[in-house]
């Protein structure tokens, strides 16, 4: 089943990002939300995106803007909270890593 992984905090400060990346399977999606938007440059996240190209990565653009964070990578897809609601129903289940 395709899972949506919500990442709400910084992988530099907490192990939640690492745990998420250890658990991710092809076809899953990642959503960077709140302090999750601090992870655009996190080496582990970038490596996962390179190695597992089936994974889709979203972020809340409003949350990134507020934090002066901007992805260098076109693989990160900016979305709104309304689109998050749609994503929740599009995926089979979700885990909130925070």
């Amino acid at each position: 089943m395709a899972m949506l992984h919500l990442i709400r905090n910084s992988g530099f400060n907490s192990s939640a990002l690492t745990q998420c990346l250890d658990m991710i399977l092809p076809q899953d999606s990642i959503l960077l939300i709140d302090d999750g938007c601090y992870n655009f440059s996190h080496a582990l996240l970038l490596r996962t995106l390179t190695e597992q190209q089936d994974i889709t990565l979203y972020f809340i653009s409003q949350h990134a803007d507020a934090r002066a964070q901007c992805p260098n990578n076109k693989l990160f897809i900016p979305i709104t909270l309304a689109e998050v609601v749609a994503l929740l129903f599009k995926h089979d289940n979700s885990i909130t890593w925070s």
Binding site: L81, F89, T96
Partner: protein, 125 residues
């Protein structure tokens, strides 16, 4: 047909993470999704505290929950066991009977089971 979403809120009212949860509820309502309920657990129970004093120029978390409850009929369920550990009670000894805001329904974890069962999707925030 209508999609049904439940939320579990575990973050305190002073956190911007709670603002995100409120905004997600609003976005869901705007999209025609039905919110079967919001369950407050762990530090999320502090959202039901009646006497929070937030400066008037800051985000008024409690007023937002009250509005979602009164205007959009979003049910707000408070886990009383988690709440009592954190200073909230609906059975105080003195003149005042409760320090829980009336927009919140005092309930137990059984309500989480109900919501989990009724909703098509559940998200923890």
């Amino acid at each position: 047909m209508q999609n049904r979403l439940a939320l579990v809120v575990t973050t305190p009212p002073s956190s911007n993470l709670t603002t995100t949860a409120i905004n997600l509820v609003r976005a869901a309502l705007d999209s025609g999704v039905s919110i079967v309920g919001v369950f407050f657990y762990q530090d999320g129970v502090l959202n039901a505290a009646k006497y929070l004093s937030i400066p008037s120029d800051e985000f008024q978390t409690l007023a937002q929950w009250q509005q979602l409850n009164s205007e959009y009929n979003v049910p707000l369920y408070l886990c009383i066991t988690a709440a009592e550990k954190r200073g909230l009670s609906d059975e105080l000894n003195n003149h005042e009977s409760s320090n829980i805001d009336s927009a919140f329904t005092v309930s137990g974890l059984g309500e989480l089971v109900e919501l989990t069962s009724k909703a098509e999707r559940v998200v923890q925030l």
